[in-house]
Amino acid sequence: MTMLHDLRFALRLHLKRPLFTLIAVLCLALGIGVNVTIFGWFSSTVLNPLQGVARSGELVIIDGLEKGERTSVKYSDYLEYRLATGVFQNSCGADMRSLGIRHQERTEAVQGQIVTGDFFGTMEVGPALGRTLTPQDCRRGQPLVAVLSHDYWVRRFLSDPGIVGQSVLLQGSPCTIVGVAKAGFHGSMSGLAMACWVPLEPYLDATQASSDRNPDDLNDIFARLKPGVSLSQASDRVLALSKERAHQRTDNRDLEAYVYPITENRHGIHGVLRAPMLILGFAAAFLFLVACSNVANLILARGAERQGEFALRLALGGSKGRLISQVMMEGLLLGLAGGLVGLLAAWASQRVLLGFMPPTNFRMALDPHLGGTAIAFAFGLSLLTCLLVSVLPALLSSNVKLASAMKEGGSKESQSIRQRRMMSALIVVELTLATLLLTLTGHVIHTMKTLQAAPTGFGMKNQLVAGIDFAASDLESAKRPLLIQDLLLRARQLPGVVSASAGFTVPRDFSGFYGCSFIPEGQTFAKGAEPKGDWNPVFPDYFRTLGIPLLQGREFNTGDAAGSEPVAIVDQRLARRFWPGQDPIGKRMRMGSKELVNVVGVVRDIKHSAMGPDRGYTVFQPFTQNPMSSIALHLHTEGSPWSLVAPLRTALADLAPSLPLAYTRELVSFHEGAQFPLRIAAQILGFLGLVTLLLATVGTYGLISHATTRRSREFGIRLSLGATPGNLYRLVVGQGARLAGIAFVLGLAGALALGKAMASLITELGAVDPWVIIGVTLILASVTLLALSIPAWRAAFLEPSKALRDE
């Protein structure tokens, strides 16, 4: 009954002061809404990364560790772990491939997964049609079958229910469709949409000859733990097993295997989103605290005006506990209302994240949404809000000096020193958090701008990139380079083309770059310490087309064909490091475990990798000597690259009617998408920073304005003693500036510390630039001065006689 009474009174009080209530609720809604949105994104893309998989956060992965670096375990190792550990309920392996599916005379290259073990059982995904794959399907000698994704079945087969049992050609081999997976499941590579799943062993049987990747490599091994088995127990068991197997290894690898939670999987979009989401989570938490500080200050200010009411309640026999409970109830109502509005705002903005995703050559399947956890989070945040905004005001409000409060009847003088101190402390908290957040925002934006402006070493203007995926054709591996050579010959004849070439990977492509290890001839390195670099098989004229200066030697030419002497072009950094003071032309190096290659040219360093640190060196080899499953054509054009797309399609159609262009993009779009985690963080942080700045400024203005109004009598006294308007202006601004000064120092110190932590999440972020600190300090100082100046001017131009009468 008591609570109901307090609740009723709190509701009446809030309705009686609609402006106060509106401001408080909006403030909290902003704080809660932003947090719920980001939590929803984090939960649905990072914590539970696999869509359509029940309890995907409970999945674990088995991954290798070799020389301190994470690496995939081998298929043969996986088979051992699966059988011998006894800690897994079920497990599976999966590897993403580009697959050509031919149906009704049309071949299409799609993203698919080659799977083994109990893939669908581990994912706990059932069929929408037909059946899913079983461990039996994955055994050697079984016929090649496939399960389609629901999306692909709808898009390619127009939801034909008769598809089950039909045969298609997969990589040129007959393959029977045995089922369609349930809608919403897109495979085990988070963020990417797979079109089909194919069992590994039958796939290898059918396509061994055309496979250009090591069949022993499995990108990911997933498992579900048996009930009662902990992650560390499973990991210990797998590690012990991997050590036992180390003695039997013949591949010279010093590999240990561990079990990790799925959130630590190296593959998939969730790993990329993790860092920006964590940074945004911190930022959102700061925003939430600023919003709560604002509302706590509002409640404190109102509490000061209600001292008379509180004194009267105490005088009438009310206990302190009742007073506290009443103020808490008022906070609870605000928290719940803020939570509800915040949840609605979060629901409306749940898919905003998709707008920040960069263009990609993959088919994406990202579904940021608010699940039950996010709703529970919103409710929990509302309760926390109640505690944050009302506990201190409740304790302070209940601490009324009965006699004086009754005598003053709630006059403006009755605000206690403790209340004023508390309000000042809250302003320091707000401005500290705003400084911290703005510094970090400035840091991230500055870093992104610097990285984007940094020279890449290649030209980006008027550069068209067109992808071709050979999986979509029946073309033999050996014939692929010839096709591209013919296509490039035609492309060079097109009007408006300055030059044309092709390479396996595209510089700055965030979807990945190939690495290689190499040993310069005559030099020795410890096992595992061989130098590593980026690797790109390219066609002649590549460097001229991309505007990469050739510093020494020659470009590749048509003479660098399959069967001729293997050659390589290296970057300046590699040449200087391994052949200092020597002519690198004619030097040889061993690529991986393959043969020695002859260095025929040196080019200027370029920035290849989109994310993470550069591997340091780059090695280019002729595509003709290293044919791959896909290629990216590069056309340097005189004018807009887009005018060349149609003629290029026509040229390709003439040469290979069944082979489409997989994508067409400008090279600059790869560069723009390169810092994509940083870009997400920067853009959303920018918004959060602005909102926090606005809240902190309004909060500071509100508090100083409130305090100034309450001190009008004091200002009247000062004026009567000869204070000039300037004296009062400086007094008010000075007091606010002292609080702001403390906050700036604390905020900057926090930002520097947090900046270091952020750098460990996103490697591109180094130390906070001094210009960022200067810029943020200037912005905050200006905005704070503005917030302080308005009440300060009001105080300065008070009419002294009126102020002295003001009780």
């Binding site: 009598r713 004091e714 004026l719 009567s720 003693l721 000039t724 009419e799 006689s801």
Partner: protein, 233 residues
Amino acid sequence: MTPLIHLESIKKVFTTDEIETHALADIHLDIKEGEFLSIAGPSGCGKSTLLSILGLLDTPTDGTYILNKKPASGLKLSERARIRNREIGFIFQSFNLIGDLTVFENVELPLVYRGMSVGERRARAMGVLEEVGMSHRAKHLPSQLSGGQQQRVAVARALAGRPSVLLADEPTGNLDSTNGEAVMDLLKDLHQRGSTICMVTHDTRFTAFAERTVHLFDGRIVSEEEAAKNHVP
């Protein structure tokens, strides 16, 4: 002899929501240097408004105000502040000490606004506190003092700037009779030592302390009376 304060045809009209309230009308008043003047009258007659105009806390709607031979009308805010600081000392009914400042800080405040050096301020403030018998409470906050003590501190603050005139607005209004009389004794003592005092009061017991009493009614001076020269209440 030129009066210290000369008011001529002073008028004050307050306008709120299109209603004009005539607080003061046609006030003619001279206060001589060293004089102790009392302004009496019922509540709402314009006593405090008149004192506010005298103290440059408010401006008259019309009329002439000469303070210390200089016109006090049409001055800039900073100039008015300077005159308040140097020429006028205020004593209020509700003491008007600043609660966050110590007794000493309250007393030195007008000297701070004057830009006086720290040493000089300290000496001057402690001097006037001793004069009113409050130097032993210099480090206390106003809330730690009784009403009578607070008013003594307020008097000390008014004296600190060595003003030409002390303006006292109901200085005993918030005090019991014992403390009220003590404060009046203090004012009398100051007057005897040469201070010019203009006091607003409605307490007839204390008007007798003044040499001359001006009676206000409905914003006009309705009578003036002089005390017997040898009167000692």
